[in-house]
């Protein structure tokens, strides 16, 4: 009969109305600045650079290979290689970035840089409250460098696998070094 559907709808909205005062399951709103949801591990915003140890610039895993800069669809990564080489975690001599800039105005947070990086150096961050009072949109390597502990904090599962893989590689390299034929001792 005409009108029954309307009455049913009215009952439904009434249930919502009075239920919203005592049933917390109905009010799913999180009142943002005061309350925050814990971020999901796979969430991603802008990229950052992981460093090991305590020195941000000395411990950077980045070897300035420029794969991320080439793969970046938006071309927002600018890398200039340093001429000096430093030993990496395996003891190999590697280049380091002299300049590593990311243009935040262009970056579209796709995460391709983090996927292609062979050194587990560039990873996606969780920070999203990025509004500021100036227009500093280009982040340099000093801004981008964040410790491995931070990486563990935001991506615990991924960081654990990365660390395990790196430790295994390190062990393998050491074993190889030990097993390597010593230059013939006369």
């Amino acid at each position: 009969m005409l009108g029954l559907g309307i009455l049913r709808g009215l009952v439904e909205t009434w249930r919502n109305f009075q239920g919203s005062y005592y049933d917390p399951a109905r009010l799913t709103t999180v009142q943002y600045p005061e309350e925050k949801l814990p971020p999901q591990e796979n969430a991603r915003t802008f990229p950052f650079l992981v460093f090991d140890g305590n020195e941000p610039l000395a411990g950077l895993r980045c070897t300035a290979c420029s794969i991320c800069a080439v793969e970046c669809p938006a071309h927002c990564i600018h890398i200039v290689k340093d001429t000096l080489k430093k030993p990496d975690y395996l003891g190999k001599m590697q280049f380091h970035p002299k300049v590593f800039n990311i243009d935040m105005a262009v970056c579209m947070e796709c995460g391709i840089c983090a996927e292609v990086c062979p050194f587990d150096s560039i990873k996606m961050d969780h920070v999203f409250e990025l509004s500021g009072v100036d227009r500093k949109m280009i982040l340099e390597k000093t801004d981008l460098a964040k410790p491995n502990d931070y990486f563990h904090k935001i991506h615990p599962l991924e960081a654990a696998t990365v660390d395990a893989a790196r430790a295994a590689e390190q062990r393998k390299a050491q074993a190889k070094k030990a097993a390597a034929p010593v230059p013939a001792a006369v």
């Binding site: 009969m1 009108g3 309307i6 009215l10 909205t13 919502n16 109305f17 009010l27 799913t28 709103t29």
Partner: protein, 391 residues
């Protein structure tokens, strides 16, 4: 009880008594105007915030809750925002009409409050043909809406205004027809007399309000539906259906002119709600003999608030209609039912039978056409249109 009941009247007369004798009638008038504007202006502010909060709760979210305690200063913030916004008049607009339209909408709506009895002895003008005045003034707002749509020189505005005209004229008919049985019952066009006719109680406790008769109940429902359409409330808000028409006739309005339209719309709703309370819910009469100690204006406010809540509730529940559905609903359903209701109301006074028999007979005479009309129109679809030159 009497002092509290008549407090506004005595304050008004006390204040007017301070003026010199020849000016006293004028001062009395100005004081009623100022009182009405203050009360319903703040009522407008309160309704906007309460409406948003209630709508929020009905949609499982908090409403606005940031400005002031529990968000109750939100209307203030909105008002400041509206005042400081740039007032844009389109280049090709008819400047004079564009300026006049919001004023022409708001003024008649304020005038409609003049005849409503808000409590015992509390109507600004005791007019013998109050209800006629109310409807006459109410139809003036259609002109303002069309002025707004026409002067904006915008297709959306014009289509919105034409929809509004079609809707308001169509729904004016069931609105007035639903009110006519009350006039028949009271035998008067004066609103205080209509309230007086609904005093006393049947069997000592059931109030003699019109809504407790079958024709009154049907009239009340018809009146509320038509009132929602008259004041462009959801689900009949398609003159400004933003999914189709940006904002309808409000498209080219910004700043305080837009706020005036908003105010006019809400005041129109208040006026027609006040009329519904007066015609069907016994106006300022108490609902039970032992509740008469409560001041009459308090009862009016309570009923008024309940009806406003009903409108908000319906807005949260119902989706917007299509234009052909809207007009079909008015002409094929509401108007026939209102005419049948007239007949039933006439029968009500002529049936000699006792109360329950009379009640059931009249209710049956209304329910049968209701079901029949609903059956007929349910499922009829508009025929597919053919466009020879367009499309």
């Amino acid at each position: 009880m009497n002092a509290l009941d008549q407090i506004f009247i005595s304050v008004q007369h006390g204040m007017a008594g301070l003026a010199p004798a020849p000016l006293q009638p004028l001062v009395l008038m100005l004081l009623s105007i100022a009182g009405l504007m203050a009360v319903f202006g703040s009522c407008f502010a309160l309704t906007t915030i309460l409406e948003r909060k209630i709508l929020g709760r009905m949609q499982n979210r908090f409403g606005p809750n940031r400005v002031g305690p529990c968000g109750f200063f939100q209307p203030l913030a909105d008002g400041v925002k509206m005042l400081t916004k740039e007032d844009i008049v389109p280049f090709s607009a008819d400047k004079a009409l564009h300026f006049l339209a919001p004023v022409a909408l708001t003024v008649p709506v304020w005038l409609a409050f003049a005849v409503l009895p808000f409590g015992r002895n509390m109507s600004a003008i005791e007019m013998d043909a109050g209800i006629l005045f109310f409807f006459a003034i109410g139809s003036a707002s259609e002109l303002a809406v069309f002025m707004a749509g026409w002067s904006s020189q915008n297709k959306y505005s014009l289509v919105g205004a034409m929809r509004a005209i079609a809707q308001m004229i169509s729904y004016e008919v069931p609105l007035v027809l639903a009110g006519v049985p009350v006039l028949m019952a009271a035998g008067s066009l004066s609103l205080p007399d209509i309230v007086q006719a609904q005093s006393n109680f049947v069997w000592g406790f059931v109030p003699r309000w019109n809504v407790f008769t079958p024709w009154g109940l049907a009239g009340f429902a018809l009146f509320l539906i038509a009132a929602a359409a008259e004041s462009n409330r959801c689900p009949f808000d398609l003159p400004e259906g933003e999914s189709e028409l940006i904002a309808g006739f409000l498209t080219e309005y910004s700043g305080f002119k837009y706020a005036l339209f908003f105010l006019g719309e809400y005041l129109g709703l208040f006026a027609v709600t006040g009329l519904a309370v007066t015609l069907f819910l016994g106006g300022w009469q108490a609902p039970a003999p032992w509740l008469q100690w409560f001041p009459s204006w308090g009862w009016f406010t309570a009923k008024f608030g309940a009806l406003i809540f009903l409108f908000i509730w319906a807005r949260a529940t119902l989706p917007r209609l299509r234009l052909d559905q809207l007009l079909n609903f008015a002409w094929k359903f509401l108007v026939p039912l209102a005419l049948i209701n007239l007949f039933v109301a006439a029968l009500w006074w002529k049936v000699p039978a006792a109360m329950p028999v009379r009640w059931l007979l009249c209710a049956g005479l209304l329910v049968v056409p209701f079901v029949w009309l609903a059956r007929i129109w349910n499922g009829t679809k508009p025929t597919q249109r053919h466009y020879d030159y367009a499309g």
